[in-house]
Symmetry: C2
Subunit: 283 residues, 2 copies
């Protein structure tokens, strides 16, 4: 029997003693002079044709690699830069650097069945990612094609970290019903997880109640203001073990620290500190 994606993720977390997922959102408006200088200095033969977006992402990925269990490149930033191949190149370089680390394509895809099947093919087979974020609005028949390969992971939007979660996901407790269904009907291949934002710990707790087995991908700690300890306390009751904390902007674009440390040093330290903070919060 193939190991399901969730089991693999759990094993990687245990082995690496980390729950950290670093989101790779290469936003050129945040590329400071310091970052651009670093790009110039480190550009080698193999990477000289990389876009600035790909270069920044790859430098960050290498710097934080020892501390993470997963990387989550955000498709939008590559597409906006016209570098449509960037995410696949990145996923492959990460896989070559460390086959254990999980690659997660942040694409929020979802469409009618025959189209979802093609998105799954694109992200898993053509681009080579291990997992994807999926938007279930169009219904479960649109989610199913993503879940067919037990070795590939599917993180369903459940309770997002933005204010707009109030508009669709909260009314009628859609987020909770959706989590329940994901746990009981959709996870047959043990490869389904949920996106559960850190900005509403009391609701995250209700998601954990109805979906005890599913890994949570938790954005919203950091730039969006969610609390790490409150969130972990909230989901601790059942099995806090199955989760990833995602941070993107706070890792990639750290504030200067007064001590004159360089950008990549601050990136590395930020990732290490967040990994350690998660461990402390769990201890």
């Amino acid at each position: 029997m193939t190991t399901g994606f969730n089991e693999r993720l759990e094993a990687v977390c245990r082995e690496r003693k980390s729950r950290l997922c670093v989101g790779l959102d290469p936003d050129s408006s945040k590329f400071t002079d310091e970052i651009r200088a670093e790009l110039k200095a480190t550009r080698g033969e193999a990477t000289k044709s990389d876009s600035a977006e790909l270069s920044v992402s790859w430098l960050v990925a290498q710097a934080v690699l020892p501390y993470v269990v997963a990387f989550k490149p955000n498709m939008a930033f590559f597409e906006a830069a016209g570098d449509v191949d960037g995410p696949a190149v990145l996923a492959n370089r990460i896989g070559a650097a460390d086959p254990d680390v999980v690659t997660l394509c942040d694409a929020k895809r979802g469409d009618i069945g025959n189209t979802s099947a093609r998105y799954a093919q694109a992200v898993f087979s053509v681009m080579g990612f291990d997992s994807i974020t999926v938007n279930p609005l169009m219904g479960w028949d649109c989610v199913e094609p993503f879940c067919r390969d037990a070795g590939k992971g599917v993180f369903l939007l459940c309770l997002t970290s933005n204010p707009g979660a109030d508009d669709f996901l909260l009314p009628g407790e859609l987020y909770q019903k959706s989590a329940e269904r994901a746990q009981n009907k959709v996870n047959a291949n043990r490869n389904v997880g949920l996106v559960v934002g850190a900005t509403r710990p009391e609701l995250a707790s209700r998601v954990r109640e109805v979906a005890p087995d599913l890994p949570f991908l938790i954005p919203g700690v950091g730039a969006q203001g969610g609390s790490l300890t409150e969130t972990l306390d909230a989901i601790r009751g059942r099995d806090a073990g199955r989760f990833l904390i995602n941070a993107s902007r706070t890792i990639m674009y750290p504030a200067t620290d007064g001590a004159g440390k360089g950008w990549l040093t601050r990136v590395e330290e930020g990732a290490r500190q967040l990994r350690d903070s998660i461990s402390s919060a769990l201890a």
Copy 2:
């Protein structure tokens, strides 16, 4: 004052006496020997490096151009074929062949604000599309970045044509509340439309009641079994005028007709007949 997208769309429909949108879903599993032979025969100097997916789409687009007001390339089929540049190439060729025809990127995007802004940039500025399909599940703050440019259109998923619409869109009448909000709050730039499937005419009628001004993009006539006349009857009360009927598979992959007509001839006739059927149903 800039003309809003919806006004432009309306003018194109009037001028071309058509309501037809042709979806371009280049599905290689449907490329028959006849289609492949046509590809070989028509491959010119300018297009010889095109992928088969791009070639088929472009042949179909040229064949049906006189009958349509819009083309809707489906991103998934290009991404699955590894031809990530295909949709942009297609949008630009269509724009060059006929600047009046509307290009609609079927991408179903939607993410937190800063990411949605990047998807909008990618689809409108980098790829050059006139409009996009957007998934509003994450909330209105995630929709807003797509609506900033009045000249670019945004079709929001409202009531889709697949069975799974029952799962999220129907409970609590989410589709209707969403349509109401789109009409009253989101359409300030007069560039917002709704995806309203043809498979549930009685519900389409309720959407038209609460959203009298918004253009509907209506999939589900054809391969998905929706009825054209029932749907148009259902939305006729208020202003049936603002809508597009989308057909994809039935146009691109027509059945053989016994008379021995070639693929592209059947494609062309299928588009002309559907355009005429829409006019008859409205008369």
